[in-house]
């Protein structure tokens, strides 16, 4: 499987995503420059964390007008897998590839810490390696991760199983304390209705080695590899 990692000016988890896919998943991976348009040959595109274009204006807002995002939209229309992590998730909501928006954390501070996630839908291309209700631990590191959406969007997300992860306690309960940023109904990661575009605030690429604190991130990337294999088999 071949991954592409988009490099915006100001991306700073691009390298981490690249290494995670290459070293821990043993998959092919290449960087894609934000000014490029060509997405051919890739099976999945990762929009990495960081501060694209300095996150000036609003997080992800300027990046959503970049050349590569126009191509990523076409790539997604054609069924390609797109995964936005942290700033990448912000870019996806800003560009309309995912519904809702990410507001400032309720404590108005940057938050870097380990959090727990409950798997809400285990039959997606991004979570098939997990089981329903399974709790995983990943780090968050963001200023604007407070997911918000209208009631309509919220119900639609629920209807098609679009909510993949919710913040929870280590025991799997969604509580106010376990929700680091004030997200609506503890939402941490969502996907589009077609099931090929996903965004999440926590960083799976950071926990792919025991040495660095955990390996739960592998399950998310691994799900994608499986989904791609499934596609090829069909």
């Amino acid at each position: 499987m071949k991954f592409g990692v988009v490099v915006f000016p100001g991306s700073n988890c691009d390298y981490d995503s690249y290494r995670a896919v290459k070293d821990s998943l043993n998959q092919q991976v290449e960087f894609i420059w934000h000014g490029d348009e060509d997405t051919s040959g890739f099976d999945a595109i990762i929009l990495p964390g960081g501060f694209s274009y300095g996150d000036y204006l609003r997080a992800g807002a300027i990046a959503s007008f970049s050349r590569i995002i126009a191509s990523v939209k076409k790539f997604a229309e054609n069924g390609g897998f797109v995964m936005g992590i942290c700033n990448g998730f912000q870019v996806l909501t800003e560009s309309g590839l995912l519904p809702g928006t990410l507001m400032l954390n309720t404590n108005l501070r940057f938050i870097c810490r380990d959090i727990y996630l409950r798997t809400e839908n285990d039959s997606t291309a991004f979570s098939s390696e997990l089981s329903g209700g399974e709790v995983i631990r990943l780090p968050v590191a963001h200023n604007q991760g407070n997911y918000f959406c209208s009631d309509d969007v919220y119900h639609r997300l629920n209807d098609y199983g679009g909510i993949i992860f919710r913040y929870c306690t280590p025991g799997g309960k969604t509580t106010e304390d376990a929700n680091p940023n004030g997200s609506r109904d503890s939402i941490a990661g969502i996907m589009n209705e077609r099931g090929n575009v996903m965004g999440m605030m926590p960083h799976p690429e950071r926990y792919v080695e025991d040495l660095l604190g955990g390996t739960d991130g592998i399950k998310i990337f691994g799900s994608l590899v499986n989904a791609n294999t499934g596609r090829a088999d069909n």
């Binding site: 290494r19 996150d55 000036y56 501070r109 938050i111 870097c112």
Partner: protein, 744 residues
């Protein structure tokens, strides 16, 4: 637009610029004429304390500044470099940004981080970690909370966006820092030894480029501002504080590393204090050359800037590049790709001269050698005088009442601002970006892996200013020792030091006595540990109208881990593990946090410090760790043995665990558990390994004793202390958030 040429230069104007009468005479002598307004500005910033180190360099040169694994010694380049083996080097340095942070905490701290990162990547090294050593007044003051909040936001705002993990540091709160906080930022980078860049201008005819941001009027005379005491007028100097743009810095990083990697340059230096004039004169002096510069070509963000302003501007995120003659096109292509300016503004010449023009008019004609540290900049030795109060403060052991309720005393101590959890701070920093952080903040030292190797680096900053205030010679040694001990507790060998020396006004003989004693102590300790000083920064004039700060020589220590798999962390691991004290029990409580927080006394004497014992204890700990006998190692410092034990219990990521400690010693129990005597480490091991540990300790002439075992829900010490680890954890964790956010 008409160019204003500035007022006529007189002695009075020179004095206003911060030059002394003698220095002004010297300028006239060097030039053989009166300087014009632009030249006066040039000499005043270049000869400011901040750029010239005129009152410190003589003593700094007595520190061990080379040898060991040093590839680049102190003062040779923008930062020191240490050989890591495998063709890699670690580049690291610490620097202060105290005065800007006192006036405008967010931007002051942010640009402090930005400045030190540039010092590292201008050498071709990619920054892999940063640390922040902070000092503030007591948090009961609203202004202090505002400063801490702003500084933490500034550090996070800059570093998080740039993408460097903030992995460690320390914070102290003492009265003396109330008007003048200390904000010292350290950056660490990794470079291939054959790709290290130099801050040199040579090879006549080589084009000189200014790259990165455009130049504005921000930060003019920042260096001069840093070289005077803070006063009520300082608030009006807010415009002397620079504005940071971490996004541009990130782009500058990538572009800079690309031009160095492709071997397109002769030399490069970042622009920090004193902007273009500082980099152009220092690079020229280093290469025994000069430059012709045309300021009209400098990209400017404001109209009508005069040469004086362009030369002295401290606009951030800029570099001066001396290009290889035929490589300018490729350099400009790379900067274009990253959306940054890169403009030729002149060329290197084979003459000790800076000719600075704007349009066709010559604005400055000065010898670069005369401007710089190590060249013509003044060098002074100042008067010293030992303060009288010290004798009284150190005369006898402090007398304090034994606590009636030890549980209450311990709770109060672990929730004291100098001891409680720093989580509120470090969770505002991205400490994991770039995925190398193996040991996160909260322990003794941070550990970062080096990709594609078995090695790792360990990093810590330390300095207890109260110790140094009470006894600068020993206090400075103890600062080096503690930093080394923290690094040793991970299993790493301490190899080199960067220092940030924060003091008051050097013209005050008592301040200067402290400074000279600190240098003497640091020299002794660094020689003894074989950890040369690779550079750093001196920050004088840290005074507000109340008082000078505690003399605070912050030590940034680099340690090298040979086998990453052998490192250890500071928290207890498993039930049944034995708790072993390496080093002696002590009942010396002078200078301790215990007598300060519980009994309201700030006084000595410092506990005795034997540097040979310190080295033996550290060596023993490293050997035991690398023999895989040790499950946790945590040094004893602020708050003494009791706090070390509590931290080891509650900082366990899988949830707190208790311990049962029984100390067999008839001296007073409060003194035994709260003494901050140095040269001590608490380690734990599996019971099967205790004999081997005892044997190893004997061989290294280190006293060890089993003082208890890990396990249970409670922290118990003799018959005096019994509380659940959870209760202690709550007190430890909630203290700082409560002080910062809830108490208002």
């Amino acid at each position: 637009m008409e160019i204003k040429e500035g007022p006529e230069v007189t002695l009075e104007l020179a004095l206003e610029h911060g030059l002394t009468e003698e220095e002004y005479e010297r300028v006239k002598q060097i030039l053989g004429r009166n300087p014009n307004y632009t030249e006066l500005g040039i000499y005043s910033v270049m000869w400011s304390e901040h750029c010239s180190y005129k009152n410190s360099i003589k003593l700094l040169k007595t520190l061990p500044r080379s040898g060991g694994k040093l590839l680049v010694g102190a003062g040779e380049e923008n930062a020191g470099a240490v050989d890591l083996g495998d063709g890699l080097a670690v580049v690291f340095k610490i620097e202060s940004h105290n005065h800007p942070s006192a006036i405008e905490p967010y931007q002051g701290a942010a640009t402090g981080v930005g400045g030190i990162l540039r010092d590292v990547f201008t050498m071709g090294a990619r920054p892999v970690a940063s640390l922040d050593s902070l000092r503030f007044g007591p948090l009961k003051k609203g202004r202090v909370r505002y400063l801490l909040d702003g500084v933490v936001r500034g550090i996070g705002g800059y570093g998080n966006c740039f993408g460097v993990p903030a992995v460690g540091g320390e914070i102290y709160f003492e009265e003396s820092y109330t008007g003048n906080p200390l904000v010292n930022a350290m950056a660490v980078g990794i470079v291939k030894t054959d790709k290290m860049a130099s801050a040199v201008a040579k090879e006549a005819g080589s084009p000189v480029l200014v790259v990165g941001s455009s130049t504005g009027r921000d930060g003019i005379h920042g260096a001069t501002f840093a070289s005077e005491e803070l006063s009520e007028e300082s608030e009006a100097k807010r415009p002397a504080v620079q504005i940071g743009d971490p996004f541009t810095e990130k782009l500058l990083l990538e572009a800079t590393l690309e031009i160095i990697d492709e071997d397109l340059i002769v030399g490069i230096q970042d622009m920090g204090a004193a902007g273009i004039i500082c980099s152009s004169s220092e690079m020229s002096a280093k290469g025994n050359s000069g430059m012709e510069l045309q300021l009209a070509h400098v990209p400017m963000r404001e109209e009508g800037m005069i040469p004086y302003e362009i030369l002295l501007s401290e606009s951030q995120e800029r570099m001066l590049v001396v290009a290889k003659k035929d490589k300018v096109g490729r350099i400009q292509e790379i900067f274009e790709k990253w959306g940054l300016h890169s403009k030729i503004i002149g060329k290197v010449i084979d003459e000790d001269r800076l000719y600075i023009r704007m349009g066709d008019k010559l604005y400055a004609d000065v010898p670069p050698e005369s401007l710089v540290l190590g060249g013509g900049a003044p060098v002074y030795t100042r008067e010293t005088k030992k303060p009288k109060y010290l004798e009284k403060l150190n005369k006898s052991q402090p007398r304090v009442k034994e606590p009636e309720d030890y549980n209450k005393t311990l709770l109060k101590l672990i929730s004291a601002p100098n001891i409680c959890s720093r989580r509120w701070v470090y969770e505002q920093y991205d400490y994991q970006v770039r995925t190398n952080t193996v040991v996160i903040p909260g322990g003794s030292a941070a550990v970062l892996r080096i990709r594609k190797s078995d090695k790792a680096i360990a990093l810590a900053t330390d300095c207890n200013g109260r110790y140094v205030y009470l006894d600068p010679f020993v206090g400075a040694q103890m600062a080096v020792a503690e930093a080394a001990r923290n690094v040793s507790c991970t299993g790493a060998l301490p190899v080199a030091v960067t220092n940030c020396l924060n003091f008051g006004n050097p013209y005050d003989p008592e301040v200067y006595w402290y400074f000279s004693e600190v240098i003497r102590g640091m020299r002794k300790a660094c020689l003894s540990f074989d950890t040369p000083v690779t550079g750093g920064n001196v920050s004088f004039y840290n005074e507000s109208k109340e008082s000078a700060v505690y003399p605070t020589p912050v030590i940034g220590m680099l340690g090298i881990v040979k086998e990453l798999k052998n490192i250890t962390t500071s928290y207890f691991k498993d039930k049944g593990d034995l708790i072993v004290l390496a080093g002696e029990l002590s009942n010396e409580i002078g200078a301790s946090e215990y007598i300060r927080t519980i009994h309201g006394q700030i006084r000595g004497p410092l506990p005795p410090f034997d540097i040979r014992m310190e080295k033996r204890v550290q060596r023993f700990a490293r050997r035991a760790i690398n023999a895989e006998l040790v499950k946790s190692a945590h040094d004893i410092s602020d708050g003494g043995l009791a706090v070390t034990l509590v931290e080891s219990c509650i900082n366990r990521p899988d949830g707190p665990i208790g311990c049962e400690v029984d100390i067999v010693d008839r001296r007073r129990f409060d003194k035994l558990i709260f003494s901050e005597a140095p040269s001590r480490i608490v380690i734990t091991c599996h019971p099967d390994d205790i004999e081997e540990i005892e044997r190893m300790a004997l061989k290294n002439s280190v006293p060890v004793q089993i003082i208890g075992a890990v396990g249970g829900a409670k922290v118990e010490m003799n018959d005096y202390i019994s509380m659940t680890a959870n209760r202690l954890r709550k007190a430890y964790e909630e203290a700082l958030p409560w002080l910062m956010e809830k108490r208002k």
